[in-house]
Symmetry: C2
Subunit: 501 residues, 2 copies
């Protein structure tokens, strides 16, 4: 067994190296690459991804996995070795099922679709994008058929981001949540003047915003010896190893929320990546458990911690030192309410904690309907706008701020959106569990002590990497299943108090 495991790890290590290199190509593309480099970069990325894919789906890896599956049967389920073989075999089977021709067709279709989407969105011209979307939907159906599924097409796609999560379960949880959130958003809308966030649109110097973000990241425990922060148009986090994790941030002088909460959000992702067990390095286990679990970490830090009263008890005096003029006459409580203002808006990425999930429900429902042919693509803008009206009480003025707003479909991705909402729910579920075990956490946060919470998250979640499915991990950490209830309780308590409901 030792010999075969070593052979498997050698092969997987080289694949991981190629993926890390591809990640660096992407990071550079978003941060420092000059415009002229784009065409060559696309070729380089395609080549690296192709070689990595071909090496992974090789017969040799299949043979090693098959032989090792029997041999690791005696080991503990959560041992590094058994987990490596189990999880790699699962991914191997999935990747082997996708025909190379489909991958190639998807690459071609998305290159065209993305270009069309950029133009369509700029011109608020949905019909220009519609035929491309049709192609993307068709290819995703083919992908789902190739992968196989139990209940519905959507299962196969969702599984790519949330291993073994089922559409029916997501739909159930979302329905529970929707029933609570829609009336809550209405109630808050009626009291919208209870919170004024004008203070956040004053002029905050970029350098100081940047410095403050770094201060917060450092205190959260992001290790700048094993990572760095740069600027990019769209914030993201990417890792080349647990010892080299890069996050990016954008800074707007007159929108205070953007840089700080963006940094904390990406910082949450980055702590996950820095917290992965080094014993898993250069294996497929050296990764987050799923897209949703990853998002739970970013949301926990951004919202549950970063938008809490405890956090600002500690940080508001410091912020006032940095921005005395901007915050003159503003007290901690006013500031706390400002950063938590609820405002139904057209754009998902700008949505607050309460309305955010409603944007996701809409997309999840539309995606399912598209796959199942329940909505004609020509009717998509109307379907979108009707749901916006129903869930958020507002209607987009045009398709650029409606059905064309997200990049995901143009990239060929269907089934990803639910993971954002799952992340929101799990953030609260995990945090609730941490509180149950360590009730002193809020008091620690008030003193600027984040280490206990970070350590808890690291030990319970981060170190395990991709060993467990999301469901397994949630059960291990919280003792229960994914549920909307903790989130609903959290939102009702927090916003009931802020808005005096």
């Amino acid at each position: 067994m030792e010999e075969k495991l070593r052979e498997l790890k050698t092969r997987l290590g080289e694949i991981k190296d190629l993926e890390a290199a591809a990640n660096l190509l992407e990071w550079d593309q978003m941060t420092y690459m000059p415009p002229g480099g784009a065409a060559a970069r696309a070729e380089q990325l395609a080549t690296l991804r192709k070689i990595a894919h071909n090496l992974f789906v090789s017969d040799e890896i299949g043979r090693l996995l098959e032989e090792l599956q029997a041999e690791v049967a005696d080991l503990d389920y959560d041992s590094d070795e058994a987990s490596l073989v189990r999880v790699t075999a699962r991914d191997y089977e999935k990747e082997r099922k996708i025909p190379a021709s489909l991958v190639a067709e998807m690459a071609k279709a998305t290159a065209l679709a993305h270009e069309a989407w950029v133009r369509a969105r700029a011109e608020a011209n949905y019909p220009h994008f519609q035929p491309h979307l049709q192609k993307i939907v068709d290819l995703n159906i083919q992908m789902a058929e190739a992968l196989g599924y139990e209940d519905c097409l959507y299962d196969a796609l969702l599984d790519l981001f949330e291993p073994e999560m089922k559409t029916a379960q997501v739909a159930q949880v979302f329905d529970d949540l929707k029933a609570q959130l829609v009336p809550l958003v209405k109630a808050i809308a009626e009291r919208k003047d209870a919170v004024d966030d004008a203070v956040l649109y004053r002029d905050y110097e970029e350098e100081k915003q940047w410095a403050f973000g770094q201060e917060v990241l450092r205190r959260m425990g992001f290790d700048f010896e094993r990572g760095r922060q740069d600027k990019s148009v769209h914030p993201f986090t990417i890792a080349f190893s647990p010892n080299d994790v890069r996050l990016t941030t954008r800074v707007y002088r007159r929108q205070f929320r953007t840089a700080l909460f963006g940094s904390i959000h990406e910082g949450g992702h980055a702590l996950y990546d820095q917290g992965l067990s080094l014993a898993l390095e250069r294996t497929p286990l050296c990764d987050g458990a799923s897209t949703g679990i990853h998002e739970s970490q970013s949301r926990l830090w951004e919202n549950v911690v970063g938008r809490s009263r405890s956090f600002w008890t500690f940080y508001f005096p410091r912020l006032k030192e940095l921005f005395p003029a901007q915050l003159e006459g503003v007290d901690s409580e006013t500031f706390y309410k400002a950063i938590n203002k609820v405002q139904p808006s057209m754009i998902r990425v700008e949505a607050d904690e309460v309305t955010y999930n409603l944007h996701i429900f809409l997309r999840f429902e539309i995606e399912k309907d598209m796959l199942e042919g329940k909505v004609k693509l020509s009717d998509l803008p109307e379907a979108w706008n009707a749901k916006m009206k129903a869930y958020l009480g507002i209607v987009p003025a045009n398709d650029a701020e409606g059905v064309l707003q997200d990049v995901h479909w143009s990239m060929g991705t269907i089934g990803y959106f639910p993971t954002y909402a799952l992340g929101n729910l799990l953030a609260v579920q995990f945090y609730k569990q941490a509180l149950a075990e360590m009730p002193e956490i809020p008091a620690q946060i008030e003193r600027g002590e984040f280490a206990p919470l970070r350590t808890w998250l690291k030990e319970r979640i981060h170190v395990h990497g991709k060993k467990f499915t999301p469901a397994e991990l949630v059960r291990r950490v919280t003792g229960s299943e994914l549920s909307a209830r903790p989130f609903v309780e959290y939102i009702k308590a927090k916003y009931g108090e802020i808005y005096g409901l």
Copy 2:
């Protein structure tokens, strides 16, 4: 033929993509990588280089090259297709000759040797490095034997950097040059007070130095849309495509020469890389003709142009605007002399235009003697110091500033040093030819017009990439062979005037 060429190009294109990705990994390592990333980066680089090597020495590429060699025989020698097959076949044969075991042993030996060298240099302790150097020398001898050679071992190693250049030719040219330079350096040393460069050690703000360097690079014609400049400890230039060329610079407040002439030097390399024909992209021809030819471009811009009176006729007034306090009471002529001060010194990388080559002769002679067993490694420090005394009239106080100063041997590289001197000679040979064809170049430079010279270099040298051997290229451009004479004439005229000899 079309079909086979396409197949060959596809394979070579993927190899080039892997090499470009490896180059990005290196660039990042030297510029932005956090310290924690080093170990993973070493693995990633090793994997990419290994895969690229294995893809290149594959039997399929050998077969394609063999079949194509007959088929391109009718095409023009300098056509893209014939050149691709000819040059790739040459490189293929070389790479195939080196056994994988030797590559692996070299990688292991250099990892240890480099570490030992860092410590040995820090402690000025040559005996600590000596056994590692012995290993490096032994492996280089094995390498030379594997590659094969006509006259001497050194031929095989030199050929890796200067294709088809012979040691005997280099030795002849160097001897000619040495006979002229040694007495010249002595004569200048006797008049060393004729030039005072104290002005260069005043306090020049980093930001302004950086801005000035960028201004110069822009005017030289470096295209910031297709490249960028960053900071690093050791300046270098690296390309991922002719449309994405990165150069780096270091800035010292109190050593004005470092940043500016470093930028111009790297800018010369970068113009070469940006000037490669796009028709050659993603092929092995998309590269410089040789290390020496590449160096000729950096030295031409740094020394022949950047240290010329014409250049400073244009730039001195601008520099004075930027640094009025530092340059108060200094005139253009004083400044011109200061940047051209000749001063025999211990350290090659800090040497001026006149003494630089003497450092190279010493290394070239010692490398040959090491390979041929003519010097015992235990006697190396004495051999080094004796040559320093003979050529430069000075003797290192310890081995850190003597035999241990360069990184090259610790990296396993023997046969590289001559290319620095070849670059110096060719810079002048090429420039002389440019002047013969366009006598107005100095007048253009006085007006800050670099485009005519840059265009000439691009059309004569850059666009051809690696199509020609250095000898072929020199003959095509200048109509003659590599020669020390133009350099000697240039140096004697320039420094005879500066020092009143």
